[in-house]
């Protein structure tokens, strides 16, 4: 396993724009099985703006045996304050699926002018998360954009974690751990869009204890996935 990675949670870029998400999720599950064996865990895309998204969710869980789903609210065109978003979170929680929300896919400054997508506003999450029992949530590509009190209050609202792919700043992980509990932090690379080494080197740049390293690189993820 390259760089010691023993499990990677994978989504599909096709999930951003395709409308036949069952086909996208089926291919993802098959690719993970064929190429990843025990390494790759598929996370299916769900778009609650599409009619009968509930069936896509059911298939992710029952047919493709997925442990979690991935949401792109900004590409799919909805706010987290929409009532159907809470309904989706409740439905995922009832199936014990881990929900990943992708805050951003690309630096806003380098996006094509004709296809500009603003990052997801996560502020409504705090209130929603606190009223859904058992919800497991992870923010992806969040840490360059969501910081300070909005980050802390979102993480504190429930079983919410965030990963380090877009974390920046010299000694960034150690600096973040001054305010964010280590059990809330996950290792994330955003490979293959980002160079994998970026994430792994961040664990070297900060002086971290063995316990912190263990928590960030595997223990938190294992717990988040298995929590019921």
């Amino acid at each position: 396993m390259a760089h010691g990675v023993t499990q990677a949670w994978a989504g599909s870029f096709d999930g951003l724009l395709h409308k036949d998400l069952s086909s996208v999720n089926s291919r993802l599950a098959e690719d993970c099985r064929r190429f990843g064996k025990t390494l790759l865990l598929p996370f299916g895309s769900i778009n609650p703006m599409l009619p009968d998204w509930e069936e896509d969710l059911r298939r992710c869980h029952e047919q493709f045996k997925m442990r979690g789903i991935r949401l792109h609210p900004n590409y799919h065109g909805y706010k987290l304050s929409e009532p159907f978003f809470e309904k989706l979170l409740r439905a995922a929680s009832e199936r014990n699926l881990l929900v990943q929300i992708v805050v951003s896919m690309e630096d806003r400054r380098t996006q094509p002018a004709l296809f500009a997508v603003e990052p997801v506003d996560v502020l409504p999450l705090g209130k929603i998360v606190s009223v859904i029992p058992g919800l497991k949530l992870q923010l992806l590509n969040a840490l360059l954009l969501v910081r300070g009190q909005p980050l802390l209050s979102t993480l504190a609202a429930g079983n919410v974690a965030v990963e380090i792919a877009t974390l920046e700043g010299a000694g960034g992980v150690a600096a973040l751990l001054k305010t964010v509990p280590s059990e809330k932090l996950l290792f994330g690379s955003y490979a293959p869009f980002f160079i994998f080494e970026s994430a792994i080197l961040k664990l070297k740049e900060s002086a971290l204890s063995k316990a912190q390293l263990e928590a960030i690189t595997s223990a938190n993820a294992r717990r988040l996935l298995s929590d019921k």
Binding site: R109, G169, A170, G171, F193, I195, E197, S198, A199, E205
Partner: protein, 260 residues
């Protein structure tokens, strides 16, 4: 050997230049970085008046004072204050320890006001770093794109220039400066998107590509990864990580009698 072209005192923990410099060196040590180029002070302004850029340069001089064996300084100037900028280059480079000139967002790189600065820097063998970004959300009034530095390079074909951030939108930036062999690109200060260093080497040659971090705003890790994680021969990586910058700095270091 790793030499980091692009570091700042801003965004580093510490209340004094000395504290911040010590912190930067601590991170550099963890990452195996031998030398840091540092420019601009603890607080920045887009359009610094002479008293402001002098103060910022004083902070860098103070930061360097205990770390000349690990760090180099570039003098920060504003082309809209031509006389004062030349005086500052003389103070910090000709009569001081600095080895480069930093141009940020006060004036676009193509304007004629830059010419005396470029000429004086070149006389002193100082290397010239120009910030560039290509933003779909709009630029600051004096902010340059790589096209601006391309225009500058055309007027000064024998002066080595560095295109900061490779323009951020690197697929455009590399194309913009490709024809100008006196322009090198700085890999610092944008997301560690896969393929950037491979494209830069393919289009420009490894000799025109320089590692930099833009720490402390960026992590050393995300920017080092652009080189360490690139699908390139080790010889190319060595050039990018330090040998190119050392080659560019050698004339001024020799002129100043600095032994490496």
């Amino acid at each position: 050997m790793i030499w980091d072209l692009h570091c700042h005192l801003a965004g580093v923990p510490g209340s004094t230049p000395d504290e911040r410099m010590a912190q930067l060196v601590e991170f550099a040590d963890r990452m195996g970085i031998d030398r840091l180029c540092v420019y601009m002070g603890m607080n920045w302004s887009h359009q610094p008046k002479p008293e402001d850029f002098r103060k910022q340069n004083d902070e860098v001089l103070q930061a360097l004072s205990r770390w000349h064996h690990r760090a180099f300084g570039f003098v920060y100037v504003n082309p809209n204050f031509a006389r004062e900028s030349l005086d500052e280059i003389n103070r910090c480079v000709a009569d001081g320890p600095m080895v480069g000139v930093k141009l940020w967002v006060a004036a676009k790189a193509h304007v004629a006001e830059l010419d005396p600065i470029i000429e004086r820097a070149h006389e002193l063998k100082a290397i010239i770093f120009q910030h560039t970004w290509w933003k779909s959300v709009g630029l600051l009034p004096g902010e340059s794109t790589p096209l601006d530095i391309a225009a500058l390079a055309k007027r000064h074909p024998h002066v080595p220039l560095i295109c900061g951030h490779t323009g951020g939108d690197w697929e455009r930036g590399i194309r913009a400066i490709r024809r100008h062999s006196n322009v090198s690109v700085d890999l610092a200060g944008f997301d560690p998107t896969a393929g950037v260093t491979e494209m830069a080497v393919r289009e420009l040659g490894a000799e025109r590509v320089l590692y930099g971090s833009d720490a402390a705003g960026r992590s050393f890790s995300s920017q080092l990864a652009k080189v360490l994680g690139a699908d390139l021969p080790e010889a190319a990586k060595k050039l990018i990580l330090g040998e190119n910058l050392k080659r560019m700095l050698t004339p001024i270091l020799r002129a100043k009698g600095i032994q490496l």
